[in-house]
Amino acid sequence: MTTMSRLSPFNHSILLQVGTVLIICQILAHAGTFFFMVWRYERPDLLSATSVSTVQAIGFYEVLKRADPTERASLEKALSHSEIGLEVIKSDRLVVAPRGLLPGNAMLDGLEKAQPELLHAMSLVRRQAGPGGTPNADLIALSLGDGTALVFDPERDSTRLNLPRFVVPLAFTMLFVPLAVLSLWGARMLTAPLRRLAEAADRFAIDLDATPLAQQGPAEIRTLAHAFNAMKTRIRQLVESRSRMLAAVSHDLRTPLTRLRLRAEALADGEDKERTLRDVVAMDRMIGHALSYLRDQASPSARERVDLATLLESICDDFADTGRPASYHGPRNVVLDCEPDLMTRAISNLVDNALKFGHVAKVSLDTRSSAEVVIRVEDEGPGIPDEAKFMVFEPFSRGDEARGAPETEGFGLGLAIARQIVERHGGQITLHDRQPNGLCVQVVLPVRGRPPVRMPAVQVPSAPAMRTEQAKS
């Protein structure tokens, strides 16, 4: 069902739907009148009683019957030169035509009804085949009683519509083109408020501060605009309260953590001091992780062209400078359209995992395809069993063993954050086994062009903004 309706071209836009309906209605209405008129003019029996040619024929018939021979001769001569389609012919040059053929027959019926007193003189005839004249055309003859008859050709009736074949399509085209244009224009007018609504929704998806939609237009649209604005306000409030909460949590957790750290540093050197400090660092890192997971998906996009090679190299060097064996092997000068801070966070998480679970981190870059770059982060650890590969990307999922890492470390958000960032860039992240052991995390990123995945633009309010909010409440 759904696939069917999705396939239908008319589902693409209301404009098309309304336009089509309008055009079809117009065509039907016009075709109706058009065919009625054609049909009416093609029914000689309905017309014959009043048609000009009938009246003319009867008039001439009466005149001819009463005329003396000299008058008749000049009348006949005049007739034969005229264009009105009346002719006096010797009866023996005519044959009676079989009745039942249109249009002469229908015309005859009409005449008989209208002029019953002429019934005896009237017949449907054909010209005898001979030079000139159209042998098969039906003619109506009014016998003059002296071996001649007044003959007229219903086909030559000037009041009938003898439409050439091309007239119908021509008339249709002339109707159709302006009607189609007008209908589409009308439909456009009708759907304009809907289009504005759609555009507003689109803008809102990028910018939470977009101006509210004007409540104008037809009643339904006004209601819709009102509902949309209300929804927008609610979403805004939700997002803002979430951002405020994030900032507050961050601040409220880090303030006591700072006290704790200062207190610990005042302690005499020893195991207590060291362990406390380690916990403080781990907790701070966890807060940072949780915040970035919640915040990155909503932060405004800040893409720029970045030398990816230097980005990867700097990540590795930063780890190496703290004594952790991470290294980069790959080409130089690889330009990628990305958000450098987020990309750094994503790859750092992968390198951190490789070092934590797999002793070393080898980062490489593959630029063989011009459309995408492939970043690989490989280690020499135990890897991840196939059945767990899917799960580890879920937030807060950690390997049961948490293999040798100090128990305070990690929320299980590292891979979830990495995936979120990679997908935000239109890329993909996958896990592969290495031979003989170890894990290879592969990140495929489109080089450029693909638009950033649209996320609502939320900014965590800066500290002062938050302070004023708190002061207010």
Binding site: S250, T258, R259, L260, L262, E313, D317, P464
Partner: protein
Amino acid sequence: MTAQTHILIVEDDGEIARGTARFLNQSGYRVSIAPDARTMDRLMKDARIDLMLLDLMLPGEDGLSICRRLRASNRMPIIMLTAMGEEMDRVVGLELGADDYLAKPFSTRELLARIRAVLRRGAENGGSEAMPRGHKLTFDGWILDPATRQLHNRDKVKVVMTGAEFDLLAALCERPRRVLTRDQLLDLTQGRAAGPFDRSIDTLISRIRQKIEPDPKDPLYIQTVRLGGYMFTQEVKPL
């Protein structure tokens, strides 16, 4: 000399302020504490302050606003402290004229290193010669922005550096066409990350060359001076 250095801590959390003050006292600084902007103003009228540690979130006038206000009148070094850990604030703070930025919870060692670096920079700036701080610098089409710690190449492509690499390149760029010895460079850059695994200046220089030199094997921008140290050869202009 350090004994006379007067640091003002503007911080509303009493324990953090006192703990930091105690530590800085032990390190030989004279320290005052102000829990809000009003106290800060009073203290600044009474005594000469050499450096300010400024919390971002304060009751009343907040840190950013204070920073902006102070910058309008003097060049006293300011180090921002914030619990937000928010990139936005960092950039805004540095652009408003803070000299450095430290995220809470900071280590006292890091704090001390930053304070020393900022003070040294201030002293050097007094003696001119170096490029004005905080301005974007440009050389041979490259753009280096000390405030946001960003480097862009001639094609406007961002080139990413580690903290130590950036500090070293900035130190060189701020003193173009001068021979700087390894000791001088070490002294100029040790503010940020002074850890047990710190790389030697030579290692950092070779990494920087890999990232910026047209031909790292035949360096053009940063030349090695025999027996001396290194010299940044390009003309550097403020942007």
